[in-house]
């Protein structure tokens, strides 16, 4: 039962990632990210219930509140303020991107096969998903031009990491967990500030235009 739920959520996260890759509307992308984070929280919660490890509830709560609600809200606010709603044409068209993402997923799973089977017998699935998620996120950072999308991609990578943290280890020590979450928030805020400054300066958040510094 637990295993199925876990795998389901993980798979869900992966799907959201794919959808984000296929997506151009910023709001939708942000919502998808929210959904993804929510699923992550779900994973944490499931484990917390199944193994009655209460500090994981905190993790779950933290995840949901921060990543499924606060950060998306903040980002949407930023987008609103800037008033740009659609991703410009990425370097690669959607089909090609999806194809590459498939390849990355394969790589991720290939690696995860050699992975140690944890207590709950889903370790290597989670790892596989996590690694694929990570690579896909990174790929989005590479292929997307909008600052916001890059932030989202970065956050996706972060989610992947947390998925491993929660799903494979039985959660990091709490203080560390808190510290990390705090830092992530901080990072996102800083990023937001920078985005606003950039837009203020360049009347666009197209990162590919930031290429004065060569050589």
């Amino acid at each position: 039962m637990t295993a199925n739920v876990l795998i389901l959520c993980a798979a869900g996260m992966l799907v959201t990632a794919y959808l984000m890759v296929g997506q151009k509307a910023l709001f939708t992308t942000i919502r998808l990210y929210g959904l993804q984070s929510f699923l992550l929280g779900l994973v944490a919660a499931t484990i917390a219930i199944a193994e009655s490890r209460h500090e994981l509830f905190i993790t779950a709560a933290l995840t949901v509140v921060l990543k499924a609600i606060l950060i998306p809200w903040f980002l949407m606010r930023t987008v609103d303020r800037i008033g740009i709603h659609r991703e410009v044409e990425p370097f690669l068209n959607v089909p090609a991107s999806l194809l590459i993402c498939l390849g990355l997923t394969v790589v991720g799973y290939r690696v995860s096969t050699a992975f140690q089977e944890g207590a709950r017998g889903v370790g290597h699935h989670l790892i596989g998903v996590a690694l694929s998620l990570l690579l896909i996120g990174l790929f989005m950072m590479v292929s997307r031009k909008k600052a916001i999308t890059q932030i989202l991609a970065l956050l996706t990578v972060e989610n992947a990491v947390f998925l491993v943290a929660v799903g494979v280890t039985s959660g990091m020590p709490l203080i560390v967990e808190l510290g990390i979450s705090f830092d992530v928030i901080l990072a996102v805020l800083v990023l937001g500030v920078l985005v606003q400054r950039i837009v203020g300066r360049f009347e666009s958040m197209d990162i590919s235009r930031l290429s004065k510094l060569k050589g």
Partner: protein
């Protein structure tokens, strides 16, 4: 910091010298704002240090006993700066001192003119650092210390070459020098480190025992060392920096560079290539012979066509370095075939030439310095008639010219004579086809010295005789006594060592005996007067005695011509009925023209003559004539190399094209690659 090593007064000489140098450097820096005292402190200190090293070198050469000691422990890296003055080191130290001493004295007066007051301190410091590092190179026993000193030497020299950094040519010269010698040093580091790892120690005694490496690796290391040391020795084709850098420096520095810096490379070739890697291979010997021949002949050919006096001297340095290497080549060949006696002669030949070249090249550069100072130009074409205006300088230059042309009664002759002996004995000592290399080398050597004679007839005759060819030349006057005394000293050495070559040979006995494979094979100096090396009655020479015969004949000639009471009638030179003006004189370019035409194949001369047409094309108002010889190596080897490097570097620009996406992609690719690699290892 400097701990005196045990073993008596002489043993303490080196640490003392180092201490003196350090104090001198400190004092010089302190006096930076007051040029005059600064100059005197710097050069006085340098002279004191040189005296110390000279005494020790002499002691070691005479006694044949090494002096060892420790200078300094580098606590941080745990490296110990220890030194050992072997007879070989002592020989090179001696050569250094013999030139460094007069050069320092000369500079005391010369820098006042040649170096901007603001830069006196820098030059003074660099001067001392240079000499100190060369000394360190000669006495180092640890590879790290050796390489360190080697590098410091390079940097100090570069600093001196760039003294007049405002001139583009000098900057380029300094940079070219830096790059070339750094590449060389790279080869040395690699080779030395491999050797060290094989020997399991960084001390020369262990690394250069001769039994450390063998087979192809040994050959590879030899090649690396040959390149590494060859750059400093200025042998062709690694010579490109030399004709640029030597003239660029102030003349007294040029003297040091040509006379002494070259020998650092030679020292390396001796210490490592010939006597550090075990019994030499025949191919090595051939390589050395070839390089030597090439450098000698091309060096002198380049020298012949130069119109810049200092450049000319620099090129002839390439030639002499080639002669030294030629002798070494013969020696290694003999060693390869196990003929110790012959090898000893060859080694004696090239070591003698190291000394003699240092002396006469030092002399020539100092004299050239005086001339440049007096005329403000380096162009031979603008000198002329200097003999009447600066008689002493002219005399000294003349002696140097005679010496460098390898003529009897001066010190160029004994070393070239010995080199011939080495080559001929080498011929008798080698079997098979290989032996034919020796007579060919001999013929090349003969050609070289004859061309050198032509070159210096030109340099002296055009530069110092007849009418002054320019205003500065006619206004020139003799340089201060302080600059003449050092030249006199070197000139005296030229004559003395030319008449009594036995002295040099005698001094060399301990040195040669100390070289592995040459124990008790030292060539016999026939007293102080003569040389009778190698196989009994193969050949011998007593220049001094023959000199007496020449003198007698000279007396005859004088008595034939000297007629009582008759005054020599002074008449104008016949100039085809016209008036003799400097413009009708034979120019340096014209002088070397026949040889230029004959050796077209090598020079590939390019000339363009365009007549500035006046009213009628048949009566041009003037003729512009431009001729240049093609710099073969620069054009066909180094140029393309440089362009290639620059092009590749330019092509790499795309890696950092400013696109964040690309940067992120690098990480992605790296991650994927590593994951796949890991995936391969379950």
């Amino acid at each position: 910091m400097v701990e005196p090593s045990t073993g008596g007064l002489v043993a303490g000489a080196l640490p003392a010298a180092v201490l003196v140098r350090l104090l001198t450097v400190a004092a010089t820096t302190a006096l930076a704002r007051r040029p005059r005292p600064c100059r005197w402190v710097a050069l006085g200190g340098s002279m004191a240090a040189s005296v110390l090293t000279l005494t020790m070198a002499a002691e070691v050469i005479v006694s044949g006993r090494e002096v060892e000691g420790v200078l300094f422990h580098h606590a941080a890296s745990g490296i110990v700066f220890d030194y050992a003055v072997t007879p070989l080191s002592a020989w090179f130290l001696m050569v250094l001192g013999v030139v460094a001493l007069p050069t320092a004295l000369y500079s005391a007066a010369y820098f006042a003119h040649a170096v901007a007051a603001s830069r006196t301190a820098v030059v003074g410091v660099a001067f001392n650092v240079l000499l100190g590092s060369v000394e360190a190179v000669f006495v180092a026993t640890g590879v790290i210390v050796f390489l360190g000193a080697w590098e410091v030497m390079t940097l100090a020299t570069a600093a001196l070459v760039a003294t007049e950094y405002q001139e583009r040519a000098n900057r380029l010269a300094a940079y070219l020098y830096l790059v070339m010698s750094h590449v060389g040093t790279g080869c040395l580091v690699a080779a030395f480190m491999v050797l060290a790892s094989r020997a399991g120690a960084t001390s020369f005694t262990a690394m250069l025992a001769g039994d450390v490496v063998s087979g192809p690796l040994r050959d590879g290391l030899f090649a690396l060392f040959l390149v590494g040391f060859g750059v400093k020795a200025g042998v062709i084709p690694l010579h490109v920096w030399l004709p640029e850098a030597h003239p660029a420096a102030p003349s007294s520095i040029s003297a040091l560079m040509s006379a002494v810096l070259i020998t650092a490379g030679i020292y390396g070739l001796y210490r490592v290539c010939a006597f550090g890697l075990g019994v030499p291979d025949e191919r090595w010997a051939l390589a050395l012979l070839f390089v030597g021949m090439l450098s000698a002949i091309l060096g002198v050919l380049y020298a012949l066509t130069q119109t810049d006096l200092k450049r000319l001297l620099a090129c002839s340095t390439i030639e002499n370095s080639g002669i030294v290497v030629l002798g070494l080549g013969a020696g290694t060949m003999a060693l390869a075939h196990g003929h110790r006696a012959v090898a000893a002669v060859a080694v004696a030949a090239s070591l003698t030439h190291v000394l003699n070249h240092a002396i006469f090249k030092g002399l020539l550069f100092l004299a050239a310095g005086s001339v440049v100072m007096a005329t403000g130009t380096r162009q031979i074409e603008e000198f002329g008639g200097l003999l009447k205006r600066m008689p002493w300088t002219a005399l000294f230059f003349f002696i140097g010219a005679l010496a460098i042309s390898g003529l009897p009664l001066l010190n160029g002759f004994p070393s070239e004579w010995l080199t011939f002996q080495a080559l001929l004995l080498g011929f008798t000592a080698t079997p098979g086809l290989v032996r034919l290399n020796f007579p060919v080398a001999g013929a090349m050597l003969a050609l070289t010295s004859a061309l050198a004679a032509a070159c210096f007839v030109r340099a002296f005759g055009i530069g110092f005789l007849a009418l002054p060819r320019s205003r500065p030349a006619s206004d020139a006057h003799e340089s201060p006594r302080l600059m003449l005394v050092p030249q006199a000293w070197l000139a005296t050495l030229c004559v003395a060592l030319g008449l009594f070559p036995g002295v040099t040979l005698r001094a060399l006995e301990t040195v040669i005996a100390s070289l592995p494979g040459l124990e008790a094979a030292a060539p016999t100096a026939a007293g102080a007067l003569g040389m009778a090396p190698g196989i009994s009655s193969f050949d011998f020479v007593y220049p001094a005695i023959f000199g007496v015969a020449v003198l007698a004949a000279l007396v005859v000639a004088l008595s034939l011509t000297a007629r009582r009471g008759a005054v020599v009638r002074q008449v104008p030179t016949w100039a085809c009925g016209g008036v003799l003006t400097p413009r009708t004189e034979y120019t340096a370019t014209a002088f070397s023209k026949p040889l230029l035409m004959i050796f077209k194949a090598i020079y590939r001369p390019q000339r363009q003559v365009d007549a500035l047409a006046g009213a009628s094309p048949y009566f041009p108002q003037g003729v512009r004539y431009r001729a240049e010889i093609e710099p073969t190596f620069e054009r066909y080897i180094y140029g393309p190399l440089l362009r290639g490097v620059v092009r590749t570097a330019g092509a790499m620009r795309v890696l950092q094209a400013g696109s964040l996406h690309a940067y992120l992609a690098y990480v992605l690719v790296l991650a994927v690659v590593l994951l796949i690699w890991l995936g391969g290892t379950p």
